[in-house]
């Protein structure tokens, strides 16, 4: 069975690039699972308790002044990871260490004082601002929650708020102070959300797709603001995005995530200059280039991101990977997917249907796929399965351990995958058997 490799935190590339720092957050083999909601009936009839493996063994480290990018598609677990880091979620396993203190399972009242150091801003600035609160009230709110407001006079509080509004470019600040979120443009609302995070003078801001909902012509300004604040306050950011171009521009280091795992992590310039993981390569290739002279035919991974409730065996990218090997984790459902794909071919559909029967009679469990055998001749059936396997991807065919008929079932069984763990390749860590 597959053993998940832990990223050794001593490895140079997971460490941040700068020297000693007053702020350091270490994420060590973190897991965040969510229970899948099921009905009472489902629970009565099945002992299985399915989980969404949102974040499944992730390690990295961030120091002050650093911008660390978490890049991935929807379902990669990047948002869950960002929320777990500021402890809006409690991790299932692993450790979060803030300045030497283990904060993984601190209670809400214990974590709250520490949140002054770690703030978060979200993708949708409209949803993250209370429509019934003026912008001034919203930005003042954290000062009240953290008991700072009561140590100052109301005038001092207001001038602190106006000052932070000026810093984020919300001007004229005394007018915007008494406006409601509905009166502001998207860019202004995101600035207000940044001001609200900034007023506590945090060391780290987790920014979850902060510009994704803004128009192109104003994105640059918000990003520039984030960069300016970093140089002014030596702020660290965890920048969560699906946009590789923005990540490249902004981040010192990045981690590419796929279904809860980091597949490649290291300095941005190394990864963008020469991506190593086939998934990173695919992502980079898929971005439409805004230059009509650079049109090129793309070789894209097939299919879509699979469900994180039951992630693929071995390397989670193997069913879609253009560089897949025999040892990457071929399993029963890959065979069923292959049968399904064949049914799209009008020449093969009839013969497959005759000999292999309807698709829904086939089952897949772990590394096996199979079907109940009726009146058919078992030898002939095995031969046909073997012959269609030779028409499949050679890596899949070679991964088959055995095709046999046992207990009136035809069973296709795959070899177990090779051990997968992060390896250091040219100045970054890559989790791929190619290296």
């Amino acid at each position: 069975m597959l053993v998940r490799g832990e990223i050794p935190l001593t490895t140079a590339v997971t460490k941040s690039l700068s020297g000693p720092s007053e702020f350091e957050l270490t994420v060590d083999n973190l897991q965040v699972y969510f229970r899948v909601k099921r009905s009472l009936i489902q629970n009565l009839f099945s002992r299985e308790k399915p989980f969404v493996h949102a974040v499944d063994g992730v390690s990295f480290n961030i120091q002050q002044g650093e911008i660390f990018g978490l890049v991935g598609e929807s379902g990669s677990g990047k948002t869950t990871l960002g929320r777990a880091v500021v402890r809006l979620l409690e991790p299932t396993a692993g450790r979060l260490v803030l300045n030497g203190r283990d904060i993984t399972h601190l209670s809400e009242s214990q974590i709250r004082p520490l949140r002054r150091q770690m703030q978060i801003i979200f993708q949708d600035p409209h949803a993250s601002l209370n429509p019934a609160m003026t912008i001034g009230q919203a930005i003042t709110h954290p000062l009240k929650i953290h008991g700072i407001a009561k140590t100052k006079t109301p005038d001092e509080v207001k001038s602190t708020v106006l000052q932070v509004m000026r810093e984020v470019g919300l001007s004229p600040e005394d007018q915007i102070y008494s406006k409601y979120p509905g009166d502001l443009s998207g860019g202004q609302k995101q600035r207000a959300a940044i001001a609200r995070a900034l007023i506590l003078r945090p060391r780290l801001i987790v920014a979850d797709e902060p510009v994704a909902m803004l128009d192109m012509s104003i994105r640059a300004k918000v990003l520039q603001l984030m960069l300016d604040l970093r140089s002014k306050y030596n702020l660290a950011y965890i920048f969560i995005t699906h946009d590789l171009a923005t990540a490249k521009f902004l981040c010192d280091r990045i981690a590419i995530m796929y279904i809860g795992r980091i597949v490649e992590i290291g300095p941005s310039k190394n990864i963008f200059a020469d991506p190593k993981h086939p998934y990173t390569k695919a992502l980079l290739q898929a971005i439409p280039a805004p230059d009509p002279r650079k049109r090129a035919t793309k070789i894209l991974p097939k299919g879509e991101v699979p469900d994180a409730v039951n992630p693929p065996a071995g390397c989670r990218f193997h069913p879609r990977c253009p560089a897949v090997l025999t040892t990457c984790g071929w399993e029963g459902r890959d065979f069923i997917d292959y049968l399904e794909e064949r049914r799209l071919n009008p020449e093969k559909v009839q013969r497959d249907e005759e000999i292999l029967g309807p698709l829904d009679e086939w089952w897949a469990r772990g590394f096996q796929a199979g079907r109940k055998v009726g009146e058919e001749n078992p030898t002939q059936l095995i031969e046909h399965v073997r012959s269609i396997l030779t028409e499949a991807q050679p890596q899949m065919n070679q991964a088959v351990q055995d095709v046999s008929v046992r207990d009136r079932q035809i069973i296709v069984e795959f070899h177990h995958p090779d051990l997968l763990g992060p390896k250091e390749v040219e100045g970054r860590l890559v989790e791929c058997l190619l290296y």
Binding site: L223, P292, R295, K298
Partner: protein, 288 residues
């Protein structure tokens, strides 16, 4: 637009690009005032009655939206959507309609074992492929795609764009692609119309517009795209105007770095500065 051509409509939130797309098929809210002409194969779509336009919708001109769930009925099996669509236009038998549906779905990579599933049982990319299958099942001559990939991931987006390109070639269909993403325009379109505050400010071939934009808004928009080779961050000052009271003269003048007094007074006409390359700027020659 001509046969087999792909025209891109690009602009930011609130520039009117979606409203424009919907006006072609008359699917705007009731009592919307539509003036001017929409000539399709010689007929003015803006003057057609509801039954007349209904005969064109889906059959001659099809529309796909950003969110497939706005078009797919959650209570209807995927196959039945097709049967309904086909029998609305043709008096074909159920089995004939099924056959057509199977061909369209199969060409989009949806296996037959899934035809009887409900929309929620499919992933986002598959739903979008079902929508495309539905749009092409009657082989329309024009497909209007309004942000067809915006809610999808980059790899799925690239897959869908490849599908749209293949379809265009197979059926010599014209494609009107509405998007805010300049990268998609550059990759897929032959020509592009840049919208700003409800007006076309520039129109031309993608090669011309990306290499030599004339209108200052197009210049600013192209410069503010962050792509992998970007070395600096650029943006356009100010905000798009409120369309309840758009600025007089050129609607871009309050944000334009080159604006003069005359720009506040005169509405710039769309002028052909180079063959096939139009722009609505009073000082267009300056940027040639």
């Amino acid at each position: 637009m001509i046969n087999g051509e792909t025209l891109g409509i690009v602009g930011e939130t609130g520039c009117g690009k979606s409203t424009f797309g919907k006006s072609i098929l008359g699917v705007l809210p009731p009592k919307t005032q539509v003036e001017g002409r929409i000539l399709f194969k010689g007929r003015n779509l803006a003057r057609l009655t509801e039954p007349e336009i209904r005969a064109i919708r889906g059959k001659e001109i099809a529309l796909i939206f950003q969110d497939p769930m706005t078009r797919l009925n959650p209570l209807m099996r995927v196959e039945d959507h097709f049967v309904e669509e086909i029998s609305a236009h043709k008096s074909s038998s159920r089995s004939e309609a099924r056959k057509k549906a199977a061909d369209a779905l199969g060409s989009m990579g949806i296996p037959e074992s899934r035809f009887r599933n409900y929309p929620h049982e499919f992933s986002g990319g598959m739903r979008q492929r079902i929508m495309i299958a539905m749009a092409i099942v009657l082989q329309p001559s024009l497909l209007i795609a309004d942000e067809p990939t915006t809610s999808l991931d980059v790899i799925t987006e690239a897959q869908i764009l490849q599908i749209l390109e293949d379809l265009k070639r197979t059926y010599s269909m014209s494609l009107l692609l509405i998007t805010h993403n300049l990268g998609i325009i550059a990759e897929v379109c032959d020509r592009v119309a840049v919208f700003y505050a409800g007006k076309v400010v520039e129109l031309g071939s993608v090669e011309d517009i990306f290499a030599h934009p004339i209108h200052p808004y197009t210049q600013g928009l192209l410069a503010s795209v962050i792509y992998l080779d970007s070395r600096e961050l650029r943006s356009i000052e100010g905000f798009p105007p409120d369309l309840l009271s758009p600025p007089p003269g050129c609607r871009f003048h309050p944000r334009c770095p080159y604006a003069q007094q005359v720009c506040q007074e005169t509405v710039p006409p769309l002028v052909e500065f180079k063959p096939g390359h139009f722009a609505a700027c009073l000082f267009g020659e300056k940027f040639l």
